[in-house]
Structures are given as structure tokens and as C-alpha cells.
């Protein structure tokens, strides 16, 4: 850049010098030209002045001549005028006379005309009168002949009528006599008839009674017969039962006997068995004793045998021995043995015999026992048999007893029935006898009656014949009479007519005569009138020709006068023009005189001025200095760059927000149109019912909403396009110079806005009306039926559900009752909250980034820029000054380089700090998570987060930098640090020096001593020769904050639109809700809900839905805010993405406040719901 700068400076200097030379020579030439011109003009001016003076004098003389001429003219004119006036008077008189003559003539003419007309009319009338008279005469004659004829006819008729009358009178007398006879007969007959009728009635009654009795009797008979039959069958049953019972009795008795016999047998057998048992028992005992004996004997025998065996053994032993003693002993023993043996054998025999005896006994016992057991079994069987027999017998007996009782009851019943039957029969017989007597009586009565009746009928027939005869006579008479009457009437009418005709005729005749007389008089009068008219006409014609002559004379005079007058007028005009011309000339002369004097004065003054100016210019030119040049970039103007980034922010925001506003508008339109569709439901139904096609209906509503969109669009566009730029511009004007605001009207933008508006409103209308139209017309005419209740998922979680209050449960159900409304509400509310949060968040981000930058990152008090020091040292005077004030500082090398990222070139600030150890107290390098960052080594660099994000650089990447001398270097990025203002690259001075050769300190961050006034210190430092600028970061912070405050406006717009969204959506949806539940609300009012309870019943849903919406909206708002901030890309600034807790709180509170506001408003509506709604029919 330095090279460029020098070149630019040089070029600028050359250009400036050249320009100076040019300007100088130009000026010199201009001055000499001016002087020449001056002289020339001066001479011209003087000559002009002299000419003017002469001209003025000539003019004066001319004017005087003209004045005299004018006076002469004036006199001539006055004379002519007088003459004219006299002539005029004469003419006027003549005109008056003529007018009088004319009027007289006209009157005469009109009189004549009217006379003529009257005469013509009279002539016609007279002709008609003659005709009429002739006609009448003829008519009268005809009438007369007719009258005469009629008179004759009438006389004849009268005679005939009189004859008829006499005949009629005779006949009437005859008829009256016949009538009297008939009446008498009739009376007699009716007496007879009455008697007969009475008799008949009596007979009928009797007959009826008899019939009834007969029927009763028959019924009784039938009943009796039936009963008899029943009784007989009952008897038969009873007899059969009796027989059965007897048989049963016999059987029972036999069984009883048998049983007794069996009993005795059984008892015998039992006794036998007992005896046998006893015998058996005795034998058993004996056998046991014998057995015991036998056993004892056996034991003895066994012992003896053992002894014998022992002896035998001893004997065998001894037999082998040969000694004597042994032999002796043997023999002794043998003897002993022999004895014992025999004894044993005897015992044995005895035992065996006993044994046999015992065995026989035993067998005998066993046989006896078997016999007994068989007997016993037989006995038991018999006994069992006997017992069943007994039971059977008892059952049979009971059965028999029951049957018997039944039989007895049946019998008693039968006997009762029988007695009843007998009584019935007797009664019946008596009744029958009575009935028969009645019948006989009736028959005789009937015969008598019949005879009477026959007699009566004969009389009646006779009477009827007489009557008929009389009737025919009578009717004949009546007919004749009627005939006579009509004849009479006819005659009377004829007579009357004739009389009338006659009188009419006479009146007519008289009238005719009068008319004839009148006609003659009229005719005479007419003829006189004609003669008079002829005379008047002649008179008029002579008067007329005289008048015409006079008129012609007058007109000639008149023309002459007018010509004279014209001439006079012309002369007058000429004279006036002359006067005017003279005055004009006079004025011109005076103006000329004044001009001349003024011109003279000006000329003198200008001459003097020009002379001074010329000499001034010459002096100025002599003083002119050679020029110095400075080259300034546009960006060095801080106002310019601030303005640029400021407007850039607005531009960026303007890109993002329309999208959200369109979404808001869609939501608003959707809910509003849905509400309209709901409210117009009946209307739609009526239209549909009347047969309008769906398209027609949809079109009607779309035209409505479309026109609203167009109107709104026109209004909004024309207001918005002026209001918003004006307001934003106004905010800018606070900080920047008063730039003129350029209004731009963009057709494209206007059309886009219009299109979006129409799409939003008409589109949503189409959808809502369409869904409404799907229902048939009949159901559209009814209010929408409330949705049927449903269980909600919460109810299946008894842990929560059972803990909820009753009214809360109702609200919970209602919330999930209308899914569409639920979602619209939550979306609307969350949109509101999100917008609010975004608005507040933008404010936070913008308001806080400067604070963060200078409170937390660049914590130094001031930035000092000075003419280059040597290496890492400050220039001496600066260092001294700083030491003097007790300030600490850190020198650095700072320069502006271009970052080459692909095709993009970006200017960045390189900072190479010298005293890195204390860097932290001036410039805190932290990564975006707040972690410490290692300082870069040579060839390495730290970059600010704005650079990293914009050029997608991360740790480990390399980047190329180039300085103004087009020297470039490649460094490796080792870290990214948080930084909001400017784009910094931090590296070591060595890295820069390696490319540029040197990187001396040219700036320093300064921290003033505690308690020092920073402004005083700034002033003191700025006084040093080597110091270029001292900038206080605090100032910078304030300026930045102020600059961004214009964005507050955007926050307000966002908050307002959020409020609008929430209010419209809530209002619409609550309205629909109330509309649909109007009966329900009326009902709970009738149930006795208090005002606030009713409101809560409806609005608790709103509050809960708002809660849902707010929760969703906070999440949405965080995302939206992040998105918006990312979109606002400003070169020098990197915004915070943080939102302060207070903003969250405000967003939530405001959203709830909107809900409460709508609830409050709608509660008036609920108040207005009439309880009578609850009584209305649902159809």
C-alpha cells in the first residue's frame, strides 16, 4: 500500500502542480481579458448614454404635438354625440308608435281568427242539428205506430186474463173442500197409526224381551247341557276312580297279609337262626377246649418223643461200648426206653384218636356254621325283601289315601255340581214355561196387531189415493194459477212498458219541437255572424297594409341612425386609442428617463467595482501558493464506514424478516378466514340450498377476501414504503449528516407483496370455504354440532388424572377436543413467543457486543498509534510521557494486510505484540468456549472468530496474507479467538519481519494509572510529536453502542407484529370456540356458574394452550434468533448469539399478557350470551 500510496501521492502532486500552472495562466489571461473587456464596455456605455439622452428629447416634442391633436378630436366627438342622442330619441318614439299599431293589428287578427273558428264550429253544429232533427222525426213516427199496435194487443190480453181468473177461483173452492175431507181422514189415520205404533213398539219390546229370554234360556240350556255332560263324565271318572280305589285297597290288603305271613316266617327263621347260633357257639367253645387239650397232649408227646430220641441216642452210643457197665446200662436203658416207648405210643394213639375226634367235631362245626351262614343270608334277604315290601305297601297306602281323598273331594264337587245342575234345570224349566206363556201372549198380541195394521193400511191406501188425487188437482190448479200469474205479470209489464213508451214518445216529441225552434234561431244567428266577420276582415286588411308601410319607413330611419352611430363609435375608439397611445408614450418617455438615470448611476458604480475587482484579482494571483496533496481512502472516513455497516445490517435484516412476516400473515389469514367460514356457515348453507354452485359460493368469498387483500396491500404498501424508511432515516439522522432520503418505488416489490397478500387471504379462504362446502346444505343451515366427547390419553394415567381437580379435567378434555384449533393455537402462540424472543435477543446481541468487546476482550484503556519506534521500543518522548503518567503499556506492530481466500480478498488487521507476557491485561485471547489460547510461534497465527467463520478457517488450516507492497506470506492457523469488532490476526513480529524485513512497533495498548482522568491523559499523550492518534476504547464503545441503537426500531417492529399475531390468532380461535359452544356456555350459565367461573371454564384452555405455545416458542425463538444473527453479516462486527435471561422472562410475560388481554375482551362476549340460547332447538 505504501508504494501505491507514494505513487498516488506523487501522481496527485503532479496533477495538482499541473492544475496549479494551468489555473495560474488561465487566471492571468482571464484578468487581462477582463481588463480589455472593461475598457471596451466603458466606452460603449458612455456612447449609449449620450444616444439615449437625445432620443428622450425627441420623444418629448412628439408627445406635446399629440396632446394638442387629442384636444381637437375630443371637441368633434362631443358634437357628434349630441346629434346622435337627438336622432335616437326620434327613432324610439317612432318605434313605440309602430309597436302600438302592431299590437292593435294582432289583437284584431286574433279576434277575427277566433270569430272564424266559432263560425265554422257553429256551421258544423247547424248541419248536425238538421240531421239530428230529421232522424228524431223519423224515430218519433215509427214509435207512434208501434205504440198503437201494442195498445191493441194489451186490450186483448186483458180480456183473456179476466176469463182465466174466474176459472181459477172456481177450481180453488173445489180443492179446498177436498182438502178438508182429506185432513179429517188423515187425523183419523194418524190416531190409528199412533195406536198401531205403540202396539208395535210394545210387541217389539215384548219380542225382544222374549228373544233375550229365549237366548238366555238357550244359553242356560247349553250351559246346563254342558254341565250335565261334564257331570256325567265326572261321574264316570269318579266311578272308575272308585273301582280303581277298591282294587287298590284289595291289593293293599293282600299285600298286608302277605307281609304279615312273611313276617312270621322271618321271625321263625330268626328264632331258628338264634338257636343254631347258640349251638354253634357251644360247639365252638367245646372245640376250643378240645383243641387246647390236644395241644397240651401234643406238647407232652413232643417232650416224650424228645426223651425217647435222647434215650435212643444214648442207646446207640452204649451199644458200641463193650464194657459191662455200659452193656448193663444199655440194657437198663433199653428197658426203660422200651417202657417209655410203649407209653409214648399209647399216648400217641390216644392223641391221634383225640385229634381225629376233634377234627370230626371241627368239620361238624364248620358244616353247621356254613348252614347257619346260608340261613342267615337267606334271612337277611328275606328281611330286606320284607322291608321294601313294607315300604311299597306304605307308599301304596299313602297313594291310596291321597287318591281316596281326591276321590272324596271330587265326589263332593260332583255332588255340589249335581245339586247346582238340578237347581239350574229346575230354574230353566220354570223360565221355559214362563217364556212359552210369554210367547203365546205375544203371538195373540201380534195377531191382533196384524189385523189392526191391515185395517190401518187399507184406510191409509184409501187416504193416499184421495190425497194423490187432491195433490194432482192442486198441482194442476197451482200450475194454472202460476200460468195466470205469469200472464198477468207479463201483461202488467207490457202495460207498464207501453205506458212508459208512450210518455217517452210524448216527451221526445215535445223535445223535438223545442229543438226545431231552437235550431231555426241558431241558424239565423249564424248567418248574421258570417256577414259581420266578412266586414271585420276587410277592415283588418287595410290596417295591415298601412302598418307595413310605416314599419318600412321606420326601419330605413333606424338603419341610417345605426350607421351614424357606428361612425361615431369608430371615431370614439380612434380617439380613445389616441389617448391611450399618448399616455403610453408619456409613460415610456418617463420610464426611459428613469432608466437612463439609473443606467447612468449603475454604469458609474460598476465601473468602480470592476476596477477594484480587477486589481483584487491581480493581487490574489500574485499571492497564490503552490498546492499540497493528501490521499484519503473512503474507508478512512469513520462516518462512512459506520454508515455502510449500519445500512448493511438493515439490509440483512430486511432479507430475513419478510419470511417470518409472511408466515405470520398466513397464520392470521388462516384463522380469520376459518372464523369467517364458521360465522358465515348459515349464509353458505342458504346459498348452497338456493342452488348456487360451489364455485359461485367460493368465488363470492374469495372476491371478498381478495378485495380485502388488495385494499390492505395498497394501504400497507403506500404507508410502509414511506413510513419505515422515514423512521429508519430519522434514526440515522441522529448520528449522520442530514443526507437526503431517496424514495424508490419498485414495481416488482409491489407486485410481489400484492401476490403474497392475495395468496394468503384468498388461498386460505378457498381452503376454509371448501371444507365447509363439503357438508350438505341442510346441515350447513344448522349450527355445527358440538363434537362428541372422547377420552383423552391422560385418563389412562390415573396417577395424574386422579390428582387433577374436576374443572381441570374438563379443561384437559376440551383442549384435546378440537385438534385443529389446538395446533393453530399452539403454533400461533409459539410464533408470538419466538418473535418476541428474537426481537429481544437481537437487541441483546447488538447492545452487548461492544460491551463484551471492550469490557472483556480488549480491556486496555486506549490504543496509541505513533510514528515508528525502533524494534519493540516506543519513541523516546512517548515512552517518557507514559512513564510520567504512570501508565502501563504494551507495544505492538500493527498493519493492514489482505487475506487471500480463493478469489476473495479481505482486509484484516495484523497485530504482532511485543511484550507477550502482559498481553492478557490488554487483549484477552480466549477461544469461543472461554478457554485459554497459546500464543502463536513463528509462522503461526491466531485469527478472530469472524474471519474463521466467514472464510471457513479452522485450527490447522493455512492462509495467505499479502501486504500493500504485494509481499505475501503463508501462516498456519493455530487458534480462533473471540472478538466482536474488527478482524484481527495475531502473530509474532518475527513472522512479519521475515517477509517485510522489519516490523517495528507502531502502536501500543495503554492502561492508564488508577484514578487518572483518561481524557487528560489522552490530551497529554496526543501532545507528543511522535504520537499520531490516541483512541480511547471507552469512546469507541459508546459510539458503537449508539450506532446500533437504530436497530431498536427493528425490535419494536418485531414486538408489535408478535403482539398482532398473538391477538389475532387468539381472538379468532377463541371466537370460533365460543361460537361452537354457545349452547354449552348458555347451559352452564343456567346451571348457575358465576361470571368468573364461566369465563374460566372457557379461558382456562387458552391459558394452558398459551403455556404449551410459550414452551414451544422459547425453543423456536432461540433457533430463530440464532438464524437471524447469522444472517446479519457486517464486515467489522461479529455479534453475540446470547440472549439475556431477562429477555426470556419478558417474552413469556408479554405472551401471557396478550392472552389475558384477549380473554378479558372475550369475556364481555361471553357475558352477552343469552341464557335463552340453551332453550333453543338444536335443529
Amino acid at each position: 500500500m505504501d508504494e501505491n500510496r507514494d505513487r498516488w501521492e506523487m501522481a496527485a502532486q503532479d496533477a495538482a502542480d499541473g492544475r496549479f500552472e494551468r489555473l495560474y495562466t488561465d487566471a492571468e489571461k482571464e484578468i487581462s481579458d477582463a481588463r480589455d473587456e472593461f475598457e471596451e464596455k466603458k466606452a460603449d456605455g458612455e456612447k449609449e448614454l449620450a444616444d439615449a439622452e437625445k432620443e428622450l428629447e425627441d420623444g418629448k416634442k412628439e408627445l406635446d404635438d399629440a396632446e394638442k391633436e387629442l384636444a381637437d378630436g375630443k371637441k368633434e366627438l362631443d358634437d357628434a354625440e349630441k346629434e346622435l342622442k337627438e336622432n335616437k330619441e326620434k327613432l324610439d318614439d317612432a318605434a313605440d308608435q309602430l309597436a302600438d299599431g302592431k299590437r292593435e293589428l294582432d289583437e284584431a287578427k286574433s279576434k277575427l281568427d277566433s270569430g272564424k273558428k266559432t263560425l265554422d264550429a257553429s256551421g258544423k253544429e247547424i248541419e248536425e242539428g238538421q240531421k239530428k232533427l230529421d232522424e228524431t222525426d223519423r224515430q218519433l213516427k215509427e214509435a207512434k205506430s208501434e205504440l198503437d199496435e201494442n195498445e191493441k194487443i194489451l186490450a186483448e190480453s186483458e180480456k183473456e186474463l179476466d176469463a182465466g181468473k174466474a176459472e181459477l177461483d172456481e177450481n180453488e173452492k173445489k180443492l179446498d173442500a177436498a182438502k178438508a175431507t182429506l185432513d179429517e181422514s188423515e187425523k183419523e189415520l194418524s190416531g190409528a197409526k199412533a195406536t198401531l205404533d205403540e202396539t208395535e213398539k210394545q210387541l217389539t219390546d215384548a219380542k225382544q224381551q222374549l228373544d233375550a229370554t229365549g237366548q238366555q234360556l238357550d244359553a242356560a240350556k247349553a250351559t246346563l247341557d254342558e254341565k250335565g255332560k261334564e257331570l256325567e263324565s265326572a261321574k264316570a271318572v269318579l266311578d272308575a276312580t272308585e273301582k280303581e280305589l277298591a282294587a287298590a285297597k284289595e291289593t293293599l290288603d293282600a299285600s298286608g297279609k302277605e307281609l304279615e305271613a312273611a313276617k312270621t316266617v322271618l321271625d321263625d327263621k330268626g328264632n331258628e337262626l338264634a338257636a343254631a347260633k347258640a349251638a354253634l357257639d357251644a360247639s365252638e367253645k367245646e372245640l376250643a377246649a378240645a383243641k387246647a387239650e390236644l395241644d397240651a397232649s401234643e406238647g407232652e408227646l413232643a417232650a416224650a418223643k424228645a426223651q425217647l430220641d435222647a434215650m435212643e441216642a444214648m442207646l446207640a452210643d452204649l451199644s458200641t461200648k463193650t464194657d459191662e457197665e455200659s452193656i448193663a446200662r444199655y440194657h437198663a436203658l433199653l428197658a426203660q426206653y422200651e417202657a417209655a416207648k410203649s407209653q409214648y405210643d399209647a399216648g400217641k394213639a390216644r392223641y391221634d384218636a383225640g385229634k381225629a375226634q376233634y377234627d370230626a367235631g371241627k368239620a361238624q362245626y364248620n358244616a353247621g356254621k356254613a348252614q347257619y351262614d346260608a340261613g342267615k343270608a337267606e334271612y337277611d334277604a328275606g328281611k330286606a325283601q320284607y322291608e321294601t315290601g313294607v315300604a311299597q305297601y306304605e307308599a301304596g297306602k299313602a297313594q291310596y289315601e291321597a287318591g281316596k281323598a281326591q276321590y272324596e273331594a271330587g265326589k263332593a264337587q260332583y255332588e255340589d255340581g249335581m245339586a247346582q245342575y238340578d237347581a239350574g234345570v229346575a230354574e230353566y224349566e220354570a223360565g221355559k214355561q214362563q217364556y212359552e206363556a210369554g210367547v203365546a201372549q205375544y203371538e195373540s198380541g201380534k195377531a191382533q196387531y196384524d189385523a189392526g195394521k191391515a185395517q190401518y193400511e187399507a184406510g191409509k191406501a184409501q187416504y193416499d189415493a184421495g190425497k194423490a188425487e187432491y195433490e194432482t188437482g192442486r198441482s194442476q190448479f197451482e200450475e194454472g194459477k202460476a200460468q195466470y200469474e205469469t200472464g198477468k205479470a207479463q201483461y202488467d209489464a207490457g202495460k207498464k212498458q207501453f205506458d212508459e213508451g208512450k210518455s217517452q214518445y210524448e216527451a221526445g216529441k215535445k223535445q223535438y219541437e223545442e229543438a226545431a225552434a231552437q235550431f231555426e234561431a241558431g241558424k239565423r244567428q249564424y248567418e248574421q255572424g258570417v256577414a259581420e266577420y266578412e266586414r271585420g276582415l276587410a277592415e283588418y286588411r287595410s290596417g295591415k297594409s298601412q302598418y307595413d308601410d310605416n314599419l318600412k319607413k321606420y326601419q330605413d330611419g333606424r338603419r341610417e341612425f345605426e350607421e351614424g352611430q357606428q361612425k361615431f363609435e369608430d371615431a370614439k375608439v380612434e380617439y380613445d386609442e389616441g389617448v391611450l397611445e399618448y399616455e403610453d408614450g408619456l409613460r415610456k418617455y418617463q420610464d426611459g428617463l428613469r432608466d437612463y438615470e439609473e443606467g447612468k448611476e449603475t454604469f458609474d458604480r460598476e465601473i468602480v467595482d470592476a476596477e477594484t475587482k480587477l486589481s483584487d484579482a491581480e493581487a490574489e494571483l500574485a499571492d497564490l501558493k503552490e498546492p499540497d496533496t493528501y490521499v484519503l481512502e473512503r474507508n478512512t472516513n469513520i462516518a462512512y464506514s459506520c454508515f455502510e455497516s449500519d445500512s448493511e445490517i438493515v439490509a440483512q435484516i430486511a432479507k430475513v424478516f419478510p419470511v417470518f412476516f409472511i408466515l405470520v400473515a398466513v397464520l392470521v389469514c388462516m384463522t380469520t378466514m376459518t372464523r369467517m367460514a364458521e360465522e358465515q356457515r348459515g349464509q353458505i348453507g342458504v346459498l348452497k340450498g338456493l342452488g348456487y354452485s360451489e364455485n359461485d359460493i367460493i368465488r363470492t368469498f374469495m372476491v371478498y377476501s381478495g378485495s380485502a387483500a388488495v385494499l390492505g396491500c395498497v394501504f400497507g404498501f403506500s404507508v410502509g414504503i414511506f413510513l419505515f424508511p422515514a423512521v429508519i432515516w430519522h434514526a440515522y439522522k441522529i448520528m449522520y449528516i442530514k443526507l437526503p432520503l431517496l424514495w424508490i418505488f419498485s414495481w416488482k416489490l409491489a407486485l410481489a407483496v400484492l401476490l403474497v397478500s392475495i395468496l394468503c387471504s384468498a388461498g386460505t379462504t378457498y381452503m376454509s370455504i371448501r371444507s365447509e362446502l363439503k357438508e350438505p346444505a341442510a346441515s350447513l343451515l344448522r349450527p355445527r354440532a358440538p363434537k362428541a366427547g372422547k377420552r383423552i390419553f391422560l385418563e389412562y394415567i390415573p396417577f395424574i388424572w386422579s390428582r387433577m381437580k374436576f374443572m381441570h379435567k374438563i379443561s384437559a378434555r376440551n383442549i384435546f377436543r378440537y385438534k385443529k384449533r389446538f395446533f393453530m393455537m399452539v403454533i400461533g402462540i409459539s410464533g408470538c413467543t419466538a418473535l418476541l424472543l428474537t426481537g429481544f435477543g437481537i437487541n441483546d446481541s447488538i447492545a452487548s457486543f461492544a460491551e463484551t468487546q471492550y469490557g472483556e476482550i480488549q480491556v486496555a484503556d486506549a490504543d496509541l498509534v505513533f510514528k515508528e519506534g525502533k524494534g519493540g521500543e516506543l519513541p523516546e518522548d512517548v515512552a517518557e510521557k507514559l512513564l510520567e503518567t504512570g501508565a502501563s503499556y504494551m507495544p505492538y506492530h500493527g498493519s493492514t494486510w489482505d487475506l487471500l481466500a480463493g478469489s476473495q480478498v479481505k482486509s484484516v488487521n495484523l497485530i504482532a505484540p511485543y511484550d507477550t507476557e502482559q498481553l492478557d491485561s490488554f487483549f484477552r485471547l480466549r477461544d469461543t468456549d472461554g478457554g485459554e489460547l497459546a500464543l502463536p510461534a513463528e509462522g503461526e497465527a491466531l485469527i478472530s472468530v469472524s474471519i474463521a467463520e466467514r472464510y471457513h478457517l479452522s485450527a490447522g488450516d493455512t492462509m495467505r496474507l499479502r501486504n500493500e507492497d504485494m509481499k505475501s506470506m503463508t501462516v498456519r492457523v493455530t487458534g480462533i479467538f473471540e472478538n466482536h469488532v474488527y478482524n484481527y490476526v495475531i502473530l509474532t513480529p518475527e513472522t512479519i519481519a521475515a517477509v517485510t524485513g522489519e516490523a517495528d512497533a507502531n502502536g501500543a495498548y495503554v492502561n492508564f494509572a488508577e484514578g487518572e482522568d483518561v481524557y487528560q491523559a489522552q490530551t497529554a499523550l496526543a501532545a507528543c510529536d511522535n504520537v499520531t492518534t490516541v483512541m480511547l476504547f471507552k469512546d469507541f464503545m459508546v459510539r458503537l453502542t449508539k450506532m446500533m441503537s437504530s436497530l431498536n426500531l427493528i425490535v419494536i417492529v418485531v414486538i408489535l407484529s408478535a403482539a398482532g399475531l398473538a391477538l389475532v390468532v387468539l381472538y379468532n380461535l377463541t371466537n370460533i370456540n365460543i361460537l361452537e359452544r354457545i349452547r354449552e356456555i348458555a347451559t352452564i350459565k343456567v346451571l348457575g356458574f358465576y361470571r368468573n367461573e364461566t369465563a374460566e371454564y372457557v379461558f382456562r384452555e387458552n391459558m394452558v394452550l398459551t403455556l404449551f405455545g410459550v414452551i414451544a416458542g422459547l425453543g423456536l425463538g432461540i433457533l430463530l434468533h440464532r438464524f437471524v444473527i447469522k444472517q446479519i453479516v457486517v464486515d467489522m462486527v461479529y455479534f453475540n448469539i446470547t440472549i439475556r435471561p431477562l429477555s426470556f422472562l419478558w417474552s413469556v410475560l408479554l405472551t401471557f399478557a396478550f392472552t389475558l388481554l384477549v380473554n378479558q375482551f372475550m369475556s364481555f362476549r361471553i357475558d352477552k350470551i343469552n341464557m335463552a340460547e340453551s332453550l333453543k332447538s338444536v335443529e
Binding site: 374443572m807 354449552e1080 346451571l1087 348457575g1088 356458574f1089 358465576y1090 341464557m1171 340453551s1174
Partner: protein, 233 residues
């Protein structure tokens, strides 16, 4: 003083300049525990009587008493309380809250009252023990009207007002509902006022009030009310 008293009650509806008199000096009484039927053609003023007696509308002139308290002097808030504690209302079209089950509909009314009856018991009393958990849409007309009666009774009101209770029901169901009302009157000593245009119902009432063009045309006590099963219409 009788339990219910209308004293020379006048009601004029104004719509703009036009005045439409609905009641022109109506007088009648109803005694405690009576089953009263107010009958008249449509437009006779029945509904206006009902609105006034039910505390749903104010009157232009005259006095109305219930149990010795003058209702006609009540302000809006007092009228609400009156509806809440003293009146049980049965509508022609039941007017159940569709989003609540039968039991919940009754509970809704029960929680308004100071001394309510048990909702379950009342529902059992009208014979709906098996339908408590059903929503109105799942109930027949007669069942819905029973729920509505239960809802009115659960508040333990002083007066049961019924507006054409059988109007939307078929003959048999209508009779059953009338029987329920009648039994309630007899067994609990409830004062029941039924408003109808169906004069056949008068046969079962203790007191019959005939309304005609804003006036009471006839009022009489029926000493021998007929059994409902004998009534035909």
C-alpha cells in the same frame, strides 16, 4: 304465602321502538311438593314464565316469590346464586356437555351446590347405574334426559323446572321420563313444574295452569291425578 307465587307479573320485550308484551299481569301459585303443569300454545308466554322463574330473565313489573323470598328483587349476581342453589333445570334438548361423561355431567352440577347429593346415587336413582362412564353421544335420547334430570336433582334444589321434557322424546320414552319426574315429586317431596304444550300431561298433575296470550287463563287443582300409564297422547 304459597311456595311459588307470581303476582301480577308483566314482561315487555323491547326491540328498538317496538314493545312486545310477553306477559300481561300473570298471577299463579304453586304449593310445595306439587306436580304442576303449565300448559299453553306456543307464544302464550310459557317460556317467559320459565325464564323468569328460572332466574334467567328479569321482569318488567310485578313480584315473584319462591319459598318466601322475592326473586323479582334480585340483581344479576343474586340471580346467579338463585339458579345455582335453588333451581334444577331440565331442558327440552337435554343440553348435556358433550365432552363429559354422564357421571361427570352430574358432577359438574354437584360441585356447584353447597349440599349436593351423591352423583352416583342420583344416577343410580334414575336407572343409569350401568351408563355412568358413557359420553352423551353414546346414550339414547331417553337416557340423556335421565342424565339431565339427575344433573338437576343432584344440586338438591328447591324447585325442579322442566321445559318440554318430553318434547324431543318418543312416546314410550317420554312417558318413562314423566314417570321419573312424578316419582321424584312424590318420593322426595320435590316441587316440580313442567312446562309443555301437550295438554294430555295435565291429567297427571296436581295443579294445572293454562296460559294464554300472556295471561293465566285457568288454574285449578286436580284432586285425583291419573296414573301416567293411563295417559295417552
Amino acid at each position: 304465602m304459597s311456595y311459588v307465587e307470581f303476582q301480577n307479573v308483566t314482561k315487555i320485550y323491547r326491540s328498538g321502538e317496538v314493545e312486545i308484551p310477553a306477559l300481561k299481569g300473570t298471577d299463579f301459585i304453586v304449593e310445595k311438593g306439587e306436580f304442576c303443569v303449565i300448559v299453553g300454545a306456543s307464544g302464550a308466554g310459557k317460556t317467559t314464565i320459565l325464564n323468569i322463574l328460572g332466574g334467567m330473565d328479569s321482569l318488567t313489573d310485578g313480584k315473584v316469590f319462591l319459598d318466601g323470598v322475592e326473586i323479582s328483587a334480585f340483581d344479576k349476581k343474586q340471580l346467579t346464586k338463585y339458579r345455582r342453589f335453588d333451581i334444577g333445570f331440565v331442558f327440552q334438548f337435554y343440553n348435556l356437555v358433550q365432552n363429559l361423561t354422564a357421571l361427570e355431567n352430574v358432577e359438574l352440577a354437584a360441585q356447584l351446590s353447597e349440599n349436593p347429593l351423591s352423583p352416583e346415587d342420583v344416577l343410580r336413582g334414575v336407572g343409569l347405574e350401568g351408563r355412568m362412564a358413557n359420553f352423551p353421544a353414546q346414550l339414547s335420547g331417553g337416557e340423556q334426559q335421565r342424565v339431565a334430570i339427575a344433573r338437576a336433582l343432584v344440586k338438591n334444589p328447591k324447585l325442579l323446572l322442566c321445559d318440554e321434557p318430553t318434547g324431543a322424546l318418543d312416546y314410550t320414552t317420554g312417558k318413562a321420563v314423566l314417570k321419573l319426574l312424578y316419582d321424584t315429586c312424590r318420593e322426595k317431596g320435590m316441587t316440580v313444574i313442567v312446562i309443555t304444550h301437550n295438554s294430555a300431561i295435565t291429567a297427571m298433575a296436581d295443579r294445572i295452569i293454562t296460559v294464554k296470550s300472556g295471561r293465566v287463563e285457568k288454574m285449578y287443582r286436580n284432586e285425583n291425578p291419573a296414573d301416567i300409564s293411563e295417559i295417552e297422547w
